[in-house]
Symmetry: C2
Subunit: 274 residues, 2 copies
């Protein structure tokens, strides 16, 4: 077991955790509570404006851990696919402008019942984007999602799958993003985190609530669920990852709380459980 | 792709699909609609009485595809574990009395955050039960559940895991039960179904709805969701399974329909999609 954290120097607020806050509100909240980093979402950045968001976070002196999300490779037509790839190129540029070198990819969903083809196309799409990512100094982080999202979000649903793609692509601008919510159940998680060594671009935490109140927006604050977060943190660190740790919690109840309280709770739970 | 079915000779009604029907109602419904087999649940059998249930199904001339469920190995104390093992021995006896040689096991949940220990204990518990299962002529079917049930139902969540346990136990009375709902997302499902050859004790079908209305009771009728059921049936048959196919659908909306309509719909969807 790794030793508990005693400071917040590696903590990052993923903006999904404070869904109702703007970029400015989230940045200012982090500064007030002493959270040194933030992970952005594209739709939030778009609301504030890209350049303005970049200016706000730069002036506040926060680090930017990642931008969510690229990917969403579900088009079946050549035209649809071209548009999606172009949109991902914009996402790469946005990441660079915001000052992060990690774009998180959600790799799916399938457009029909043909999962094997959808999986093959995801890999092809990532390969297509890699030269542009490298040009912009932005790494593509494949985030395997929980298998319960196979039908509507991601066809990449295990760390093993993400690792396999990274190994086949052999490109220094691709890696994996590990979110405990999505992978905690994996029977061979120890081996898969070891296999990801040197390719871990991000580590996200939250908790799995029992019962889960909502499949999308029912994730829990660390300590409220059943995930052994500290053990997973230890495995990720043994694999060499010592970067920022994003707290990303989609939770309807949390979103109704005042943002400062959410950040304070997040910080104390991070110290107690991560 | 396997050829579509043209008759109902391999169809079985898992009793969960007609949740509000008693054993007698379900058996009589199967006879009316021409479904030749049924899979029972213990709590339903208990309501009607074990001997009475056995008599009803025998007199109706239906086959019994399986009994759900044994397992539920989550006790941490020696006393608690002894009680659960005894309860599983009763389940084995009930299966034999009902005229089926398959007891379906739900293998979990974990009692705390220690998943590795919970997984090890599940395997130990199954090993402990196997001599009694063999004595009674009842095989234990490890049914991996979907990973979204890791927190509250089953720590065995992939076919790969179930296969590994079966391989390690090397006992002819243990095998796997494959439910498309639980395993359709597995990236290496083809290989895992091949690996299960000779050990497949049951095949369950339903569909994955998008969106899923409820994590437990939001499963879909075949054809209403995104699972390529026929492809999975083909893989299971290539692996040598030609036994009964249970339709097991936990769905609140379906349970409000008249039972005969559910069975007729199930039969026509089975012919069209399985």
């Amino acid at each position: 077991m790794p030793t508990p954290f005693t400071d917040l120097s590696r903590l990052s607020l993923n903006q999904a955790t404070t869904q109702h806050w703007s970029v400015r509100q989230a940045v200012e909240g982090c500064v007030r509570v002493g959270v040194p980093a933030i992970g952005f979402w594209r739709h939030k950045v778009a609301e504030t404006g890209l350049q303005e968001s970049a200016r706000i976070v730069r002036e506040a002196g926060l680090q930017v851990s990642s931008l969510c999300r690229g990917g969403w490779f579900d088009a079946l037509t050549a035209e649809g696919r071209r548009k999606q790839l172009d949109d991902n190129r914009r996402a790469i540029e946005e990441a660079a402008t915001l000052g992060t070198d990690v774009l998180v990819l959600v790799c799916g969903p399938a457009a029909n019942r043909d999962l094997p083809s959808a999986r093959a196309y995801v890999e092809e799409a990532i390969a297509t984007l890699l030269p542009y990512a490298a040009e912009n100094g932005v790494r593509l982080g494949i985030e395997p999602l929980h298998p319960m999202y196979t039908g509507d979000r991601s066809v990449i649903v295990t760390l093993e799958q993400a690792n396999s793609i990274v190994q086949r692509l052999t490109h220094e601008y691709v890696g994996v993003v590990i979110d405990v919510y999505h992978v905690w159940w994996e029977p061979d998680i120890e081996a898969q985190i070891r296999a990801a060594a040197g390719r871990i671009l991000g580590f996200h935490i939250c908790d799995w609530l029992v019962p889960t109140p909502d499949m999308l927006n029912g994730r829990g604050m660390m300590g409220d669920g059943v995930i052994d977060i500290r053990r997973l943190r230890g495995l990720v660190e043994e694999a060499g990852y010592n970067g920022l740790i994003e707290v990303e919690i989609f939770n309807n109840a949390l979103w109704e709380m005042p943002g400062d309280e959410v950040l304070q709770l997040m910080a104390s739970r991070y110290l107690a459980h991560a």
